[in-house]
């Protein structure tokens, strides 16, 4: 074991790593830890040519600076990305300096029955599939590792933001897959890793076509063509959007959106290429049922999540249903139709406002999306909601006397908070919110048999039904048909209360 000192080729910074002769070995790089374990030195196995060096240099200089200097830089660099920070050379190989992964991205327990993967990275694959959640599976993950359904929405939000930011900078990931994303369901975190492969369109070409399960249909369908053929499709921003949609679908529903029962060719390789490429078809296509999963051909460990009749994608709520339709029906073979990362972010955020806690303490998912019915029940365990359920619809002022619906609904549950982004349409709920904007303005609670809202900080709130002010530190009862103006400021919203499950 020896400590090796290396020098940056861009600055005069010095780095060190411990060489124990057995580095962590990835596809393209050997990874060594620094003595203080604050960063890793990842050294390429192959010699990198001029273009590669140029591309890596831009990643660790220009693009890193862009993220650092813009809003929410800390959020992106500490939470969402493990962004390479410098380039080094040792002998004739080059390497990158990457900050170490946060400890939450390593299994604290792993399998419930053994320590085999304890301390290993939480590769996204563990949480995308269904088997590892099945308690009867011999190698199921411990319950403490799995998180709740709501956490997978947070993971999707973080991932969408990561992709959104790259696309805003003109970059595309080109190999987005569960291998390149670490996730921690218990905290709802996601972290994109292996970012040294980023593609700058028109400047640096994609080196890889992606990872099976996430390669866009047009890329697979033109894989046989030469790279110089103008019809050949290589990874780009739009193929990232296919991969992102697949990831979100898999994290929420633990099955693949395109892997159904339809057979296109008797040869396995050809069949796979067609069913993920040229002939790809959404397993839940509403009109074409031919690719529905065949339940008798599903691994017995996967059957719960594989059953699209029992757990249809519509349980993810109206906003996400619309985006899944765009991604896997309209946009599957028409890349321009695919939802952008920001659309996913917004839809996921809005959906979390529709979520309810399941009253069954044994329910594995704990949360579900309100299904817009008058008698809501949990789609996972079938438990009906007990008691009344206030539904708040948000309206914005279109003209002085005309209020229009926002297509944004907020479901109330006991001890739920209300935030600035509900009150005022000029406050956008995203990673750029200030600390002050993240402080709740009030909360909902079920108090002495009534649903009430307790106003903590809203200074110009008015009960329009009763036509009286709701001062700070007072409460107002939520009754069917009640209209509440949350703020008189520009952008202030009105909420309309509906009591469901009466």
């Amino acid at each position: 074991m020896s400590i090796i000192t290396v020098k940056s080729i861009l600055t005069d910074r010095i780095y060190q790593y411990v060489d124990n002769g057995d580095p962590k070995s990835g596809t393209a790089k050997n990874v060594y830890f620094s003595p203080d374990r604050k960063y890793v030195v990842a050294i390429f196995k192959e010699k990198q040519d001029f273009n590669q060096k140029e591309r890596l240099t831009r990643i660790v200089t220009r693009y890193l600076d862009q993220i650092q200097s813009k809003e929410a830089g800390d959020y992106y660099l500490n939470e969402i990305y493990r962004w390479p920070t410098d380039l080094i050379e040792t002998r004739d190989r080059i390497g990158i300096i990457v900050p170490i992964y946060n400890s939450k991205f390593f299994f604290a327990k792993g399998y419930s029955s053994s320590d085999l993967i304890k301390g290993e990275e939480k590769n996204g694959k563990w949480f995308a599939g269904a088997k590892f959640r099945n308690k009867l599976f011999p190698l199921s993950l411990d319950q403490t590792e799995l998180g709740r359904w709501l956490n997978y929405f947070q993971i999707g939000i973080n991932l969408s933001r990561g992709v959104k930011k790259m696309h805003q900078m003109g970059l595309s990931h080109s190999d987005l897959s569960y291998n390149n994303v670490l996730i921690d369901p218990s905290s709802g975190s996601a972290c994109m890793i292996d970012l040294d492969g980023l593609v700058v369109p028109g400047l640096f070409q994609a080196e890889v076509i992606g990872t099976a399960d996430f390669i866009a249909p047009e890329v697979l369908a033109t894989k046989h063509l030469n790279k110089t053929d103008p019809s050949r499709k290589l990874p780009n921003r739009l193929t990232d959007l296919h991969a992102l949609a697949c990831l979100i679908y898999m994290y929420l529903l633990h099955r693949h959106p395109l892997k159904g029962g339809k057979v296109h060719d008797l040869d396995t390789e050809k069949d796979d290429l067609l069913s993920m490429g040229e002939k790809a078809l959404f397993i839940e296509h509403p009109a074409d049922l031919s690719n529905r999963p065949k339940m008798n051909q599903i691994s017995k460990w996967d059957t719960y999540w594989a059953d699209v009749n029992k757990i249809p994608y519509t349980i993810t709520g109206p906003y996400l249903k619309a985006l899944f339709d765009k991604a896997f029906i309209d946009g599957l073979h028409n890349p321009m139709q695919r939802p952008t990362a920001e659309e996913w972010e917004i839809a996921l955020l809005k959906t979390t406002d529709l979520m309810q806690q399941c009253s069954n303490i044994y329910c594995d998912q704990k949360w579900y999306v309100f299904d817009n019915t008058t008698i809501p029940k949990c789609p996972f365990c079938g438990t009906s909601h007990q008691g009344t359920l206030p539904v708040l619809d948000l309206y914005y002022q279109f003209q002085p006397t005309v209020w229009r619906p926002e297509n944004h609904r907020l479901m109330v549950y006991n001890n739920q908070y209300l935030f600035q982004w509900h009150v005022n349409r000029n406050v956008i709920r995203n990673e750029r919110l200030t600390a002050e904007q993240k402080i709740p303005v009030g909360y909902f609670t079920f108090h002495e048999g009534k649903w009430v809202f307790v106003n903590q900080t809203l200074t110009s709130m008015v009960d329009k039904t009763e036509d009286k002010e709701v001062p700070v530190n007072t409460m107002v009862e939520l009754t069917d048909g009640k209209k509440l103006l949350l703020s008189k400021e520009d952008g202030g919203r009105v909420i309309l209360v509906t009591l469901a499950n009466k």
Partner: protein, 211 residues
């Protein structure tokens, strides 16, 4: 849904007796543990093991990895190496085990086969008769591992161009080899290049790959 069947053919002839068989058991259990810590492998991998000496035994029929229990492999103190006979059993098993694609059923991935031997086939005639039959099964990859100076590389090369020669069958070398085997099995899960076919990953530098 699709399974990736992997067959291991393991030489348990007399020459393996003693340290080599211990080292092999150790390396196999390391490999199984590596695979059992791989989410992708746990999703699709099915494993079968056949041992051959004078007798040929299917010691584990094709079993999904999560339920796979590795038995202790033992060998007699002396006896011939019936490689041909082992291929014959493999041929019958593969024909029965593999789910072929049909209009209503997705087929398995092409099976992989790893043959480990430290000698040369004693039943050479049967071995040669089996070669075309094995090739007709259309394996995704056939890799032979020849360990020690008695192993005959040229005969194995009649079966597959991918022959790895290990100079010794000691624990460290075998471990390296089976680490490479698991990497080969896990290959489909990695990022795919913009080039065409998927090839075997480069073998570890300590061993010789004859191609």
């Amino acid at each position: 849904m699709r399974r990736l069947p992997v067959y291991f053919l393991i030489d348990t002839s007399g020459s393996m007796y003693g340290e080599p068989i211990q080292a092999l058991n150790n390396a196999l259990s390391g490999m199984v543990n590596t695979l059992r810590a791989d989410a992708q492998a746990l999703d699709s991998l099915w494993i079968s093991m056949i041992t051959f000496d004078r007798e040929v035994k299917e010691i584990v029929p094709l079993t999904e990895l999560p339920s796979f229990q590795l038995p202790e492999i033992t060998c007699p103190q002396s006896g011939p190496t019936h490689t041909g006979h082992a291929l014959e059993m493999l041929y019958e098993k593969v024909k029965l085990d593999i789910i072929r694609g049909s209009s209503t059923q997705k087929g398995d991935w092409k099976p992989l086969m790893f043959l480990f031997t430290d000698g040369k086939p004693s039943d050479l005639q049967l071995y040669r008769e089996m070669l075309p039959k094995i090739k007709s099964l259309n394996f995704g990859a056939i890799v032979c591992c020849a360990a020690g100076h008695l192993a005959n590389d040229s005969l194995l090369k009649e079966l597959t161009p991918d022959v790895v020669h290990l100079d010794t069958a000691d624990s460290a070398t075998l471990k390296q080899f089976f680490k490479w085997v698991s990497e080969t099995i896990e290959q489909g899960n990695k990022s795919q290049g913009t080039g065409e076919s998927v090839t075997l990953p480069p073998p570890p530098s300590e061993i010789t790959l004859i191609i």
